[in-house]
């Protein structure tokens, strides 16, 4: 990597002397510049650097120390998703404590975005569920007359799913393909189920809703210098031991192989020449200095909101609608996995809040001929009980104290309730709708003067049917388990899976990137992440993000040599 060396800095000054570019405090050159150090960017950075490509990996947010993050988590009075992480003004992200503080929700329904801008990205607080999409998930148009088909078949993706499972270290039950055919075994043995999962599986045996062990990127044996899971019960928002995969694994691999990591560097502009080649990236640092990156190939991997925002704010006379946007689809077709959350008290204590937070789920509901009428869904049995809907056992403790319980009575009541709480959550497939979209708000800017994202979002009747159906299934499940005090959160709860905003397809008129994730409009620009998903299935997106990123590594390297 040429890096911020004298050579490239001098090049910048020479160019500046000729009036071509402003003086920059920080300039570097690389063969491939990657924006975003989450799972997609980090994987590609590692794979390319290991094959001798000069890589610059640029991240808006700071590096994180796990012990500092843990300390912040312990000290936070509200221990939500973002509690452990720095909240830099220069690289803002949506905070649960201030939902409109950065992304501006235009409605009519809340999208509820959640992501981090730190080295390693949102994998710091991901759940580590590693489901593959189903073959029929990629063919919604052909099979059910809905939305669009993916431009890739399951068979084309399958080897890359295997590669992604090896990179992330997925633990899974050897006999379960969960409807997604496999050519090889999971790399790690399955995660042991909790007592709660085991009792629920017994209760649901013989019903259509038998849960299966969930494949997950959490170590069941020591793997890639990371330890075995020690049951900290805090996977979301932070794993204290690093037994849960996060993308710092591949950031470190990339750096060890020679990639240059620039953290605290917020890319705000993509430059393009008259031949539609991307010529550079400009970034700002918290000290308000400016930087400039020149590369042969550019990769944006800043997730489903920041990536389209960056493309759209880089509008110029040469690209008045933004970069990569001849289709007009950049930022559009935003999809989530809207959830139905239900919870209850089990008749017998099942002892939740111990071990990994999600261990089993119902996958049979992800497929079926009825998908033309209502969405595929996946039911997770939550081992962290009410942590998601109510913020954890602290809500129970507050309620019992509020009822006037004191002393030994209070202690007994806390034990009684928290040992019987159960959460059953269904994730539903949402169809793409071009009106659901991310746009930059040029009137409202962040601390560095960069337009903030605004979100237009509406849930349709198809989603409504799915949520209503899921609620009836939750009732059946609670009946079979034996519960009281059943509650359902009204309407949808955001899953914060950000998908679809720069969709993949063969036709440049109806998609933004091709199946290699190359922008139709720019031969040296690749866009990674769940923004490329034409549809979302009912599977957590990360494993598919990783598989597609690994698949794109070869075309990206070929583009360097072109």
């Amino acid at each position: 990597v040429a890096s911020a060396s004298g050579r490239s800095l001098k090049d910048e000054r020479d160019r500046s002397a000729h009036g071509e570019a402003p003086v920059t405090d920080d300039a570097l050159a690389a063969e491939v510049a990657i924006v975003g150090s989450g799972v997609a960017g980090a994987l590609v950075a590692a794979k390319l650097a290991q094959r001798g490509v000069d890589v610059a990996l640029i991240e808006a947010g700071p590096k994180i120390s796990r012990s500092d993050a843990l300390d912040a988590y312990y000290k936070a009075p509200v221990r939500g998703l973002d509690a452990p992480y720095p909240k830099p003004a220069y690289a803002p992200y949506p905070l649960r404590s201030d939902p409109d503080g950065y992304c501006i929700e235009r409605g009519p329904d809340p999208f509820g975005p959640s992501y981090l801008r730190v080295v390693g990205g949102t994998t710091w607080h991901w759940e580590a569920t590693c489901l593959r999409l189903l073959p029929e998930d990629l063919r919604l148009r052909s099979r059910f007359g809905l939305a669009v088909d993916w431009p890739l078949s399951y068979d084309a993706l399958e080897p890359w799913y295997g590669a992604a499972e090896r990179e992330l270290g997925v633990a899974g039950a050897a006999t379960d393909d969960l409807g997604s055919p496999r050519s090889d075994a999971y790399p790690l043995p399955a995660m042991p189920l909790s007592y709660l999962d085991l009792q629920v599986a017994k209760a649901l045996a013989g019903s259509p809703y038998l849960p299966h062990p969930t494949p997950q990127a959490r170590n069941t044996v020591p793997w890639n210098d990371r330890p075995t899971c020690c049951g900290s019960a805090s996977c979301v928002p932070i794993c204290p031991s690093a037994a849960k995969y996060d993308a710092t694994v591949h950031v470190e691999q990339a750096v060890a192989a020679g990639a240059q990591l620039l953290d605290r560097s917020v890319v705000y502009r993509i430059d393009v020449d008259g031949n539609r080649r991307i010529t550079g990236l400009r970034f700002r640092r918290p000290e308000r200095t400016e930087g400039h990156v020149r590369a042969k190939v550019y990769v944006l991997a800043a997730h489903g909101i920041e990536t389209p925002k960056l493309l759209l704010i880089s509008r110029s006379e040469r690209s008045p609608d933004g970069i990569a946007n001849s289709s007009g689809l950049v930022g559009r077709n935003l999809m989530d996995h809207p959830y139905k959350l239900s919870w209850a008290l089990t008749d017998q204590p099942l002892w939740p809040y111990r071990g990994p937070i999600r261990l089993s789920g119902v996958d049979s509901t992800r497929r079926g001929e009825w998908r033309a009428e209502r969405p595929a869904f996946r039911i997770s049995i939550d081992n962290a009980a009410l942590s998601w809907p109510l913020g954890g056992p602290v809500a129970t403790v507050r309620a019992l104290i509020g009822e006037g319980l004191r002393g030994a009575d209070l202690q007994r009541a806390i034990r009684h309730q928290t040992s019987r709480q159960i959460g059953v959550f269904s994730m539903t497939e949402q169809l793409p709708d071009p009106a659901n979209r991310i746009e930059p708000d040029f009137e409202r800017r962040d601390a560095l003067g960069i337009p903030r994202p605004q979100i237009h979002f509406r849930l349709d009747d198809y989603t409504g049917k799915g949520l209503a159906f899921a609620e009836t299934v939750h009732e059946q499940i609670f009946g079979l388990i034996g519960t009281t005090a059943i509650q359902h959160r009204a309407g949808a709860t955001p899953g914060s899976h950000i998908m679809g905003t720069y969709r993949m397809g063969e036709d440049p008129r109806t998609s933004v990137v091709d199946p290699d994730l190359r922008a139709h409009d720019h031969a040296n620009l690749f866009l990674l992440g769940s923004g490329v998903f034409p549809t979302g299935g009912a599977a957590n997106p990360t494993l598919t993000i990783a598989a597609l990123a690994l698949r794109a590594a070869d075309p990206i390297r070929d583009a360097v040599q072109a």
Binding site: V78, G231, A233, R354, V394
Partner: protein, 123 residues
């Protein structure tokens, strides 16, 4: 709790009485005085200050203000969290009484044992 002997209390034995009251309200005999000091000082500067002084001076007060104060004291000990002016602060994470009341091996965010201990019922 006694009453008469408390009259004319000094600041120091007010704190001792606060700890006595805390033990009574929580049902826990072992309470960390360093954590207790944080709670006590915060309450003494809060809207509960008057009720706190009366409760500690007289031992028992039956009114809504005293009830609200007692609820705050119990909440502080069980959650480890207290209000200090406009801020909400954590006095102790792992020392919050809710974790020992729950049937869990410890608060989330610490290693709790070998792989799969969660497959067995607790206790």
């Amino acid at each position: 709790l006694g009453t008469g002997a408390w009259r004319g209390a000094t600041a120091e034995n007010s704190f001792d009485r606060f700890m006595d009251l805390s033990r009574q309200l929580t049902g826990q005999t072992m309470l960390d005085p360093i954590v207790g000091r944080l709670f006590y000082d915060a309450l003494a500067q809060s809207e509960h200050a008057g009720a706190l002084a009366r409760l500690l001076a007289e031992g028992k007060v039956d009114d809504d203000q005293a009830g609200a104060l007692e609820e705050q004291i119990v909440l502080q000990w069980f959650t480890g969290i207290y209000r200090s002016g406009a801020a909400t602060r954590t006095a102790t994470y792992e020392g919050a009484l809710m974790w020992s009341a729950m049937a869990v091996p410890g608060p989330p965010g610490f290693c709790h044992g070998g792989l799969g201990f969660w497959s067995q019922p607790e206790g």
